[in-house]
């Protein structure tokens, strides 16, 4: 189906700006933006990404060291308990009970294990930024790029690093140069661990020869296929293999061996494949780390990358079938500006198509959850509730099933509708009767975008919670 294109009514345009480019309106936002919706989006871009300066959050390297220390400590405790159990066998029953209890008390720390604690703390900051944002365009960009360059918390140490990764490698660059974000991402320990490069040895490197270790082409392939050029853009298996050799040695200081630098990026010369490599027909004779940086620079400025990024941006924000003209214009802006993402994003939000396209896209689960909370004024009381809800909706936070990330295509999400209803219902119960008059809720959430049918359905609800659940599930609130 397609909801009608938005009229030129300025409140309708403000509501569209909030839903299509932001995380949905908070009460009063539609009126606030109505004077100049485009200007408000551009102003948010100019203000740039707000850094997350929560003192409770540590750097990824600190998190890595703390996690490894935690794991070693747990291992020692397990061994100590085993020793104690075998030596305490002769003790009398009563004593054993008592010592067993106190023993348990001393080893079992309250709350979830450290990696999960770090993950939840980061999740809280990630959601809070989306809830606090004015419109949310910059936060949407953080989510978009985080998904484009995704890592998975389900891979070993990455659980402790994935949140910091988004703060360190993604957030600062969403309106900067694409090449800077690319370099930050591909040298970040979370990515190097996720796609196995931290353990990829040049077959003829010093360490590779001595330890009989070799190449792992996982990261090399996905950089070309997913992060830059896009699949079927002309590179060959030889390009993948050679590029994988170029980035051998891009690794991570193991926290077990390096007390101070553990968890930081490590260019390990001893793992690096020596010699020049040919990638996409060009010879790279640089030595060491510079060789990989040069190839990344070439990939960042390749025309195929411009097309790939432009297509993904338009598909995410505007339409499942991206209008070819708009993609071509964004790709050109990308090429002309050397991948300046501020200029590319400005071109996107000021394009006529961005305001004309029918609202056919289904919000992704996390976007929809944030919009639901913003419109109903719910605060994060227990972040696990949000994490669980996003799981249930098929988009578990920082846990994509594959390096391609979650789909931007609406077709992938429509079957989750019943789960959305359960979440909407739960949200409405939490809000209870504090949700305000149904008509006012519809106005604040949708303004002129609300159809007569939706207004009537919400107005006729048997209770305020039911009215809110129906509003959150209405087509105009689901689609953008």
């Amino acid at each position: 189906m397609s909801l009608d294109p938005v009229s030129s009514d300025s409140r309708a345009q403000a509501a569209l700006a909030l839903h299509r480019f932001g995380f949905g309106p908070k009460p009063g936002d539609i009126d606030r933006l109505a004077a100049d919706p485009r200007g408000a989006l551009l102003a948010e871009l100019n203000a740039g990404p707000r850094p997350i300066d929560d003192p409770a959050l540590a750097s990824s390297a600190e998190d890595a060291r703390a996690t490894v220390a935690f794991q070693m400590e747990k291992k020692r405790e397990r061994e100590a308990r085993r020793m104690q159990a075998s030596s305490g066998n002769e003790m009398a029953g009563q004593n054993m009970m008592a010592s067993g209890e106190s023993n348990e008390m001393s080893v079992r720390k309250p709350g979830p294990p450290l990696p999960q604690k770090i993950y939840l703390g980061e999740a809280q900051a990630h959601y809070q930024a989306a809830l606090d944002a004015d419109i949310g365009l910059v936060e949407r960009l953080v989510w978009f790029w985080s998904n484009h360059f995704c890592v998975s918390a389900d891979k070993g140490l990455v659980r402790s690093l994935c949140g910091a990764y988004e703060r360190e490698a993604i957030r600062p660059h969403v309106l900067g140069k694409f090449s800077d974000m690319l370099l930050a991402v591909e040298t970040h320990p979370a990515m190097l661990l996720y796609l196995d490069n931290a353990r990829s040895f040049g077959p003829d490197s010093i360490a590779g020869e001595r330890r009989h270790k070799g190449l792992n082409e996982n990261l090399g392939r996905e950089i070309m296929e997913l992060h830059t050029l896009g699949v079927r853009s002309g590179y060959t298996q030889a390009d993948v293999t050679n590029f994988a050799k170029v980035i051998t040695g891009w690794s991570v200081y193991p926290p077990r061996r390096f007390a101070e630098r553990g968890g930081e990026f490590w260019f390990n010369e001893r793992m690096h494949e020596p010699g020049a490599q040919t990638v996409l027909g060009r010879n790279y004779a640089e030595r060491g780390f510079a060789q990989g940086r040069a190839v990344l620079e070439m990939l960042a400025h390749h025309p195929a990358t411009a097309n790939h990024i432009a297509t993904k941006l338009v598909r995410h924000f505007i339409a499942d079938d991206p209008p070819a003209d708009l993609v071509a214009r964004l790709a050109k802006r990308f090429r002309d500006t050397g991948g300046d993402l501020m200029q590319v994003t400005q071109a996107l939000v000021t394009a006529p198509e961005a305001w004309r396209a029918p609202r056919t896209k289904l919000k992704k689960p996390g976007e929809w959850m944030m919009a639901a909370m913003r419109t109903s004024g719910l605060q994060i009381r227990d972040v696990r509730r949000l994490v669980n809800a996003q799981n249930l909706l098929g988009e578990p936070l920082w846990r994509p099933p594959a390096p391609k990330g979650f789909s931007d295509d609406s077709a992938a999400w429509v079957d989750g509708l019943a789960e959305r209803l359960d979440i909407a219902n739960q949200t409405a119960r939490l809000v209870g009767n504090n949700g305000g008059e149904p008509d006012a809720m519809v106005d604040a959430a949708l303004g002129p975008l609300a159809s007569a049918e939706t207004r009537q359905t919400v107005r006729r609800a048997e209770s305020r919670p039911q009215a809110l659940a129906l509003l959150l599930m209405s087509p105009e609130f689901q689609r953008r």
Binding site: M1, N216, E225, P365, E395, P401, A402, K404, Q466, M473
Partner: protein
Amino acid sequence: MSNVFHAPSRRELLLASGVLFAWAHLPRAALAEGRDPRFLTIVLRGALDGLAAVAPVGDPDWVRLRGDNALTLGSATPALPLDGFFALNPAMPNLARMYRAGHATIVHAVASPYRERSHFDGQDVLESGFVKPGAADTGWLNRALATMAPAERARGGKEAFAVGPVTPLIVRGAAPVMSWTPPKLPPATEDTVMRLLDLYRHTDPALARALEERIDLAKIAREGGLAMSPQKRGIPAQKGPGAYIKTYFADSAGAAAKFLARDDGPRIGALAFDGWDTHADEGVANGHLALWLDALDGALAAVESGMGPAWKETVVSVVTEFGRTARINGTAGTDHGTATVAFLAGGALKGGRVVADWPGVGEAHLYQDRDLKPTTDLRAVLKGVLRDHLRVDARALDDAIFPGSASVKPMGGLVST
């Protein structure tokens, strides 16, 4: 994609990505013969290492190729002998048992027509049934269904289902698809649902259709006792490494079977399991891959028991986007390759054999000097099953279902009709 380790919430992740579908369409031509066939497809996402699942222990180059990673009949945990040349990974005793009973067939050195090494394009070709990736946004299973007549049964032909909120390509298309997820939250009241449905019917037919299907499905699930925890449904709690994976695979495959087994249930379904991308520390005998194969084996056993008497009319096909490098890479894993295995299981099979035009794994025989060479087209296998088991029209198989595959003849003799 990479190995995924055993994080506590792995099960939830899979619940989100493993998906199970079926339709209310009936294989009418088969029904006319007095049969009532069931067909379930399991897609293994991430590219299964076929040589680690089914080892060519009789190939003189095998041990030279993989060294310590080569499964043999003399391994610490010996591989399970199949036919004197091939042996099955020891993590799959149930499949071995089915094989001996004539209820499983293994096809080796098999590949889809895709010859590059992108997971996502490879899955696109595997699931779309087209020769090239990105050619269509419908799946071959859905188009096969579209050639069958819709059921006209008690519930108006809507009793079909899926598990999970994300729709995979293999089942997308014109034929109606439904999905089902075990309930975790207190559901909305029926009154709320009906009001919402009424709104959708007036404003957004696509959302209306999605919601209607879920309502019907929830009803079947309640009636079938599926709205309960796995343990209450008699799925034993698993312990130890991989417990989440084993429980999840067995649970979702078992639920699929129970739906398919019902007299008034759907007849065709699909299910996807992630986690086969073994770039590092593959663990053929007792690591990651062994756990995943163990879980797959448990899933096949759960289908067998969940089907009950309908097992004798069942074919399950297990397919993956491509294989992996023949040699072990620098990190005790394997990178993306070409040919691999496909499994068929079910009481309707004339099984108990390995079908392979074996290319050999000597240096000279490898595809592009790195992968197992493909000698059998996966489409031939699927076309054989669709034609002989479900009686799908042969011309539709060549054109609509696997477009451009007229030269790929359906493999005969797979099912015992």
